[in-house]
């Protein structure tokens, strides 16, 4: 029986060698999961659709450079995650001016289409809180806690060490704890610009966890 990733590799190879339908087939195999990552990371369906389109066109063009060191689906997820991260970072570099009613024209605002959540009200609050996390922490939590990828899988998607993913998740969850009111006043302040655990050695803000943890 053909393993899932063998089928993906066959389709990617067919695409590179000129099969006009192969990439579309590959996209259809993974579109729901890729869409979920984009939507949950960016929060807005239009932005998520744009990011997913940018990512898939990039993958379409870059297929010939795929080196085969990771699974095809990992590679696709990485391209989508990076497209989302770039959008979030650009948004932070150029914050939108709030509308007169105080709302923002883009970004997380509970615009994610209603899904049959176990607790819709909590889901909305959680999505708002996620939107306030630094991009890397938000994306790590989306992959690990919402989409159910393992730390190892998320590390492969990010292209970083597992310890880095653990740090992103851990600090993101701690910030969510503050935002969601699970830590009393006097605990850590609202999220800062601090990043993730340093690569061994001393702790410094913005540095990444490393090693092979």
């Amino acid at each position: 029986m053909t393993r899932p990733d063998d089928r993906d590799a066959d389709l990617l190879r067919a695409h590179v060698t000129g099969d006009p339908d192969a990439f579309g087939q590959l996209f259809r195999r993974h579109r729901d999961r890729l869409w979920a990552v984009a939507l949950r990371t960016l929060g807005d369906p239009d932005e998520a659709a744009d990011a997913l389109q940018d990512a898939m066109l990039n993958a379409h063009r870059a297929a010939g450079r795929f080196r085969g060191e990771a699974a095809v689906t990992t590679w696709l997820h990485r391209i989508v995650v990076n497209a989302c991260l770039d959008r979030m970072r650009r948004r932070r570099a150029h914050p939108t001016v709030p509308l007169p009613d105080g709302s923002h024209p883009e970004g997380y605002g509970g615009k994610e289409p209603a899904a049959p959540a176990a607790d819709p009200e909590t889901a909305l609050v959680v999505r708002h809180a996620l939107a306030q996390l630094p991009p890397e922490q938000r994306t790590a939590i989306v992959l690990v806690d919402l989409q159910g990828y393992s730390v190892a899988e998320a590390a492969a998607i990010f292209g970083v060490a597992e310890g880095t993913v653990k740090s992103r998740c851990a600090r993101g969850r701690a910030r969510l704890a503050v935002l969601l009111g699970h830590l009393r006043t006097g605990a850590p302040p609202a999220p800062t610009a601090r990043g993730n655990r340093g690569r061994g050695g001393t702790v410094s803000s913005g540095s990444e966890a490393g090693g092979s943890q």
Partner: protein, 316 residues
């Protein structure tokens, strides 16, 4: 009693410090310092509540049909406008990049170290050709697939040794180096990034990301000029970054692939430090005119298709 470092505490509870001296230190603090013990207990309880909240989010909605149709139409259009790059029948297409500001010297970083000048030129062309491979040559067909299978839980982790040997083999065995007689079609110097080894220490939000003064380069680490025989071993970065200095192609491929929309053009690389750690600072532009700086560590482009990214900022 010492002040509680909540980020460090979170890392400890999340397993990010397992097996490290820092982890041992935090464990001792929790065991001996009442403030740390109380904070750890409170944070652990709070994290349980966060986990429950995240479970309440529920499954994501499926991809709307209208969005799916739009994406597939875009991909079909992409087939006609941007056909996938096939295995090279001839030479790799030269990379293109944005116009350079007037007066800015375009240099092609040479290679320091022992060897004849001709050796240096050949090493320069070797990784320059590999960059051209990064730009558009399909090595896919030449590389056997041995996926790590991280997302296929039933698969055994592949050895990958053959792939690694293939990936780090000299370009001539990979078929990426243009034939000598076709040197005129090799990537132009203007399309290759400036490479420097400043050993400066960058920080998040550093003004140096936007502008660097020439005098910031120590004399022994000045921008390298082609055919400059006065290169010294001191100009070469220290060992953690030496691999990338000698052959940045795989790392640049990872950097390129991490941005949209294409084409992505790397304009400058500075082998330096970021928050005190050895790192390569990469300046690049994206297809929509975006300008970015990206910081990668020594493992960028290494085994496992890692990018080892430490930081990224939009400059525009």
């Amino acid at each position: 009693m010492s002040a509680v470092d909540w980020d460090l505490l979170a890392d400890h509870l999340g397993g990010a410090l397992a097996g490290t001296p820092e982890g041992d230190r935090v464990a001792r603090l929790i065991a001996t310092d009442p403030a740390w013990a109380a904070a750890a207990a409170e944070l652990a309880g709070a994290l349980d509540a966060v986990a429950a909240d995240l479970r309440a989010v529920g499954p994501p909605p499926p991809l709307p049909e209208a969005v799916s149709a739009r994406l597939e139409a875009a991909l079909r259009a992409g087939v006609s406008d941007h056909p996938p790059v096939a295995a090279p029948a001839g030479l790799p297409a030269p990379r293109t990049g944005p116009d350079r500001p007037p007066g800015r010297t375009e240099t092609l970083a040479g290679r320091s170290g022992p060897g004849r000048p001709g050796d240096r030129r050949r090493r320069r062309h070797r990784w320059a050709a590999a960059l051209a491979g990064v730009a558009g040559v399909a090595a896919f067909a030449a590389i056997g697939l041995g996926p790590l299978g991280l997302l296929d839980r039933g698969a055994e982790e592949s050895d990958g040794a053959a792939m690694l040997a293939e990936d780090h083999a000299p370009p001539d065995r990979r078929g990426l180096r243009p034939a000598p007689e076709a040197a005129g079609a090799a990537p132009t110097i203007a399309a290759l990034p400036v490479m420097t080894a400043s050993d400066l220490d960058y920080q998040p939000g550093s003004a140096r990301f936007h502008h660097q003064e020439p005098q910031e380069f120590a004399p022994e680490r000045r921008p390298l000029e082609p055919d400059d025989d006065s290169h010294s071993a001191a100009a070469r970065p220290d060992p953690p970054l030496a691999r990338l200095w000698d052959d940045p192609a795989a790392c640049l491929a990872e950097v390129e692939a991490s941005h949209v929309p294409p084409p992505v053009t790397v304009t400058r690389m500075d082998f330096a430090r970021f928050e005190g750690e050895p790192a390569v600072i990469v300046w690049l532009t994206t297809g929509d005119g975006g300008e970015w700086v990206q910081v990668v560590g020594p493992d960028c482009g290494g085994p496992g298709a890692t990018i080892d990214e430490r930081h990224r900022e939009a400059l525009d």
